[in-house]
């Protein structure tokens, strides 16, 4: 581990200013991913700007009925919040499906969004990886690829985004608030993370120095009927093989509106818009869900080891939609 400076920012402006003093500076939230990377030699920052104690640790009601989640809110606090559990159960369940109790106590909302892939080649500095070292090649494409992407991958990178929380937020149409040297802006959660294309080294659209300060949840009343299903071989403390977050608005026996997001299958949390379109205004039915899931997976491509994810995601999507609609309608 290389020696580094540590500064605790007093406010958002100071944090951004400190970041501007060094090109290799990094924001430090809970540190549950970054500190590992420093030990492994993936990250060698000369300055850590600690933003975990900025006054961003509150969950506030918004005038429109939504919620504003401060970037420093811990995953465990967010999962336990009564408003989140009642109004956005998919988010609470996604959080509780992630990591372990100890990690959730440390991990922050902003940091969770910016955690990096657990592709084993990315995490091993002795193997080529385009995300870690652009142009060095991808070791996973012809290597151990069981956990890798089936949608949206490129010849440069087949890694998947690891966050459960982000999948829940995507199904809830969350909006990310960002402060940077150029001022404040908002980014939809769907636009925050990128597909790899030719630049897998960039996970998100954030510019250098930009800091996530909050995540806003819009007041989606039907999100009360939402859930998160994570499939993994180990019953706890494992990343998703696949996951599905979904919210359904049932009206007079038909699907008035629906949101579906998938995890563990792409470089970003995957919004299943094609499936959503096929479901709207239809009568819920397993055969319909099956058709929608197949349509969403039409362009899925398997690597050597991950072909099982295609039927697995299909079955999981169908079961999740069934649980949300048929048993309660």
């Amino acid at each position: 581990m290389r020696p580094f400076d540590y500064r605790r920012a007093g406010d958002v402006d100071e944090a951004i200013a400190l970041m501007g003093t060094s090109p290799t500076a990094r924001y430090l939230g809970g540190g549950t991913n970054l500190v590992d990377h420093m030990r492994l030699g993936l990250e060698t920052p000369d300055l850590l700007v600690d933003v975990s104690r900025l006054p961003l640790a509150d969950i506030e009601d918004l005038p429109d009925g939504g919620l504003r989640i401060g970037a420093a809110v811990r995953n465990s606090d967010l999962a336990a919040d009564r408003r989140v559990r009642e109004r956005y159960p998919a988010l609470s369940r996604a959080l509780l499906a992630g990591a372990s109790g100890q990690l959730r106590n440390l991990a922050t909302t902003g940091g969770n969004l910016l955690q990096r892939t657990r592709c084993p080649y990315f995490q091993d500095v002795t193997t080529p990886c385009n995300k870690r070292e652009p142009g060095s090649g991808c070791s996973a494409i012809e290597g151990h690829s069981r956990n890798h992407a089936i949608l949206g991958a490129s010849d440069a990178c087949v890694a998947v985004h690891p966050s459960d929380m982000a999948v829940g937020l995507l199904a809830l149409d969350a909006v990310v608030r960002v402060h940077g040297p150029g001022g404040e802006r908002t980014i939809t959660i769907d636009d925050l993370h990128r597909l790899p294309g030719e630049h897998p080294e960039r996970d998100t659209v954030l510019e250098p120095g930009e800091l996530i300060t909050a995540v806003d949840l819009p007041p989606t009343p039907f999100a009360r009927r939402s859930t998160y299903r994570k499939v993994r071989e180990r019953a706890s403390f494992a990343f998703a093989l696949v996951s599905v977050a979904a919210a359904v608005d049932l009206h007079e026996g038909r699907i008035a509106d629906v949101r579906i997001a998938c995890g563990g299958i792409a470089h970003k949390p995957w919004r299943a818009r094609r499936a959503e379109e096929m479901l709207v205004s239809e009568v819920p039915d397993e055969a319909l869900f099956e058709r929608a899931a197949r349509a969403e997976l039409d362009e899925a491509r398997a690597l050597r080891d991950n072909g099982f994810k295609i039927p697995l995601l299909r079955h999981t999507m169908v079961a999740t939609l069934r649980d949300l609609t048929l048993e309660t309608s």
């Binding site: 012809e142 499939v231 071989e233 403390f237 079955h315 079961a319």
Partner: protein, 694 residues
């Protein structure tokens, strides 16, 4: 018959003597011993699997502030020749596996050492990597013997003819993957060279095993080395001998006299440096008559060893002993690969071998339309088929019957895929367990009396199993005094010679020596010894294996749920029933047996070291990637034992319980998944893709 002890303290659930120290963090593990101004070592590891080191440049590392020493083959102490080539580090330029130790940096802090190690520049002459295990390789070879000193091959009767003429046959291949021991406490060593004397505080399963291996290798006289190990946070065999990292720490310390050098392997380093269970490919053929009586058992194994050093797992050996069959064949063939050196992992041989045999037995039960418990009962044997000797005590049938009764086996519908709860398919399975009972020669204990108390000294080690407690109970019964009058001293090579905690032999070997010493003490000093009376005695040699086949047996039952949609496998219930001789301490024994079963559950569902054959390294080399059962995976797991005392083996009446809990556990779960789903999976782990409807 041995002169069996009368049990007073033995058989009582005495609380762990070290429990308070452990839960309050006061028990000093190897790395915890306080040192003045210690230095920290970080290894430099090869990043190729085969070839040689052309140049190793430590300039940048040497220049880093805080670096005290860089060690390479150019300045390392010369080691003595040794048969164990794994230990011969920094003596030559050859690289035989990726991750092999080729240097070290010692610095003021672990962070500086790690950073400096990353600055060491190594250039290689690389050769093509060969890390692919398969049964169709043309260069498979027959080792001279397999681990434990067993014969490589056996062939009795006429297996091929018997198979051909059998009314019912099973002919399948079963595989287990590469698996790694992951004790909670990593392998750690603290080395201090002072006044021409080396002290090692080491996380090891045998202080004398370490002493015997390391002193000559380091060109030390025996009295120049002391190994101290009061507590170990799990070993499972991986700490059953010193590995190359102990040599590295010792060499560094010898270059820094007076300064303790501390080394704690990272989890990633443990995937290359401290052994693993070889992947196994088992071709099993069973032939039986229509009522399920075995005529022939053939168990042919292909597995891997390392180019640097041979380790041949005895995978087919249990198939020589478990069931009566007049015609039997077993064999072991090895592929020599550019991979780290395999070594012991809990129940080497029995654990993977019994998975193969016991899943095959389940297939045979179905082929014979016979209940799998009944099939095993019908193939019970009073004598060891291989040696013809009677067992000291064998009650596999009792384990099966008792387990079936308690588990609720009687009403079982044998048809697969018949029980469904929502999305979950439910099934049950059974498998037999076995493990040999061993007692090792070379154990001595010393008893001293003073101030009304007995000090009992032997170089045994407690690796978390309960030795501190159980050995004190044995000493109390042998001296016929309350256990509270015993002061046990273990975990130090300055204490009388003791063998390694391995092969489930610890209590039998050390306990036997303690009883011998206690009896000698009483013979010499009587019931009322003078102050500071002292006696030392050695475990007497035994000819029991000339007259008996000492083996333990067990039966494991599992209930599983398999999600029909997603293929996820969960295990709500496991029961193990064991015939293992006397239980010295029911509290620690229950923990050890259920611990073995949980490790078997973990093997069944999760454990798999994924080898990248291009580079010869384990890709998922951390606990996020290498899955071990979490608490949420472990539900109702219980172990019971038959009430028995083995009167032939040792004065305690024990047979050893360290390994048998893992044996058969994965097979019981695999068989239950077939019962739940109708899908027969012959390889491990039982991951969702196997049960998925594509």
């Amino acid at each position: 018959m041995t002169d069996t002890l009368t049990a007073h303290s033995m058989g009582t659930p005495l609380v762990r003597q070290d429990a308070m120290a452990k839960v309050t963090g006061m028990a000093p593990y190897a790395y915890d011993h306080r040192q003045d101004d210690p230095a920290y070592l970080h290894p430099v590891q090869a990043t190729i699997a085969r070839g040689r080191v052309v140049q190793i440049d430590t300039t940048a590392a040497d220049e880093l502030d805080g670096v005290l020493l860089t060690l390479t083959r150019h300045n390392a102490p010369r080691l003595a020749e040794s048969e164990d080539t794994e230990m011969h580090i920094l003596q030559h330029d050859e690289v035989a596996f990726r991750g092999q130790l080729i240097g070290a940096v010692v610095a003021r802090t672990p962070e500086i050492a790690r950073e400096a190690a990353a600055l060491v520049r190594v250039t290689y002459e690389e050769e093509a990597t060969d890390a692919r295990l398969s049964a169709d390789r043309e260069d498979l070879y027959r080792p001279e013997q397999v681990n434990g000193g067993f014969e490589t091959d056996t062939d009795t009767g006429g297996v091929d003819a018997a198979l051909a003429s059998s009314a019912v046959q099973v002919d399948q291949t079963y595989t287990t993957p590469m698996e790694h021991n992951n004790p909670m406490e990593p392998h750690t060593t603290v080395a201090l060279w002072q006044d021409e004397h080396l002290t090692l505080w080491d996380s090891i399963q045998g202080v004398h095993a370490a002493h015997t291996a390391l002193a000559p290798l380091l060109r030390l006289e025996p009295e120049q080395l002391r190994v101290i190990t009061p507590f170990v946070g799990g070993g499972f065999g991986s700490k059953g001998k010193p590995h190359s990292h102990e040599v590295l720490a010792a060499m560094a310390a010898m270059r820094l006299p007076g300064r303790a050098v501390k080394l704690a392997l990272t989890r990633q380093q443990m995937f290359t440096l401290v052994g693993y269970r070889t992947p196994t490919i088992n071709h099993v053929r069973l032939g039986a008559d229509r009522d399920g009586r075995l005529q022939a058992i053939s168990h042919e194994v292909v597995e891997q060893t390392a180019r640097l050093y041979e380790f041949a797992e005895q995978t087919a050996v249990p198939s020589r002993t478990v069931y009566a069959a007049p015609h039997r064949r077993t064999s072991h063939r090895l592929a020599t690969l550019d991979v780290p050196v395999p070594f012991w992992m809990r129940a080497p041989g029995e654990c993977p071998g019994m998975h193969a045999l016991e899943v095959a037995m389940d297939e045979l039960a179905i082929a014979c339309d016979l209940d799998p418990v009944e099939l095993r009962v019908r193939n019970d044997t009073a004598t060891d088929p291989e040696t013809g000797l009677p067992f000291t005590h064998r009650d596999l049938v009792g384990c099966l019957r008792e387990g079936a009764d308690r588990f609720g086996w009687a009403d079982r519908d044998p048809r697969p895929r018949q029980r469904r709860e929502g999305d979950w398919l439910v099934g049950t399975g059974v498998a037999a367990s076995t493990y040999p009972a061993m007692s090792m020669p070379g154990n001595t204990a010393r008893i001293r009396y003073g101030l009304g108390r007995y000090t009992v000294e032997i170089g045994a080690v407690d690796i978390g199993t309960g030795t501190w407690t159980a050995l004190a109970q044995i000493a109390a019964d042998a001296l016929e005094c309350p256990v509270g009058h015993i002061d046990l001293r273990i975990g130090d090579s300055d204490l009388p010679q003791a063998t390694v905690e391995g092969g489930s032999s610890g209590i039998a070997s050390w306990g036997g020596a303690v009883v011998a010493a206690a009896r000698a003490f009483r013979a010499e000093h009587g019931r009322l010894p003078a102050e500071w009376a002292q006696t030392e005695a050695e475990l007497p040699e035994s000819d029991v294996t000339q007259r008996f086949a000492p083996h333990s047996f067990g039966a494991q039952f599992a209930q599983v749920r398999v999600n029909a949609r997603t293929g996820e496998v969960r295990v709500p219930r496991m029961l193990g029933v064991f015939s293992v001789g006397r239980i010295v301490n029911p509290r620690t024994a229950h923990s050890q047996l259920t611990g073995g079963m949980v490790m078997g559950l973990s093997m069944a569902l999760h454990e798999h070291s994924v080898m990248d054959e291009r580079w010869g390294h384990v890709v998922n080399h951390d606990l996020a990637g290498y899955h071990i059962a979490s608490h949420a995976d472990v539900c109702d797991v219980d172990a019971i034992w038959l009430d028995e005392v083995d009167e032939h083996l040792n004065p305690m009446g024990t047979r050893g319980i360290g390994e048998i809990g893992i044996v058969g556990a994965a097979a019981a779960i695999a068989n239950a998944t077939f019962h739940a789903t109708g899908v027969r999976v012959r390889g491990l782990p039982l991951t969702p893709e196997h049960f998925l409807d594509h």
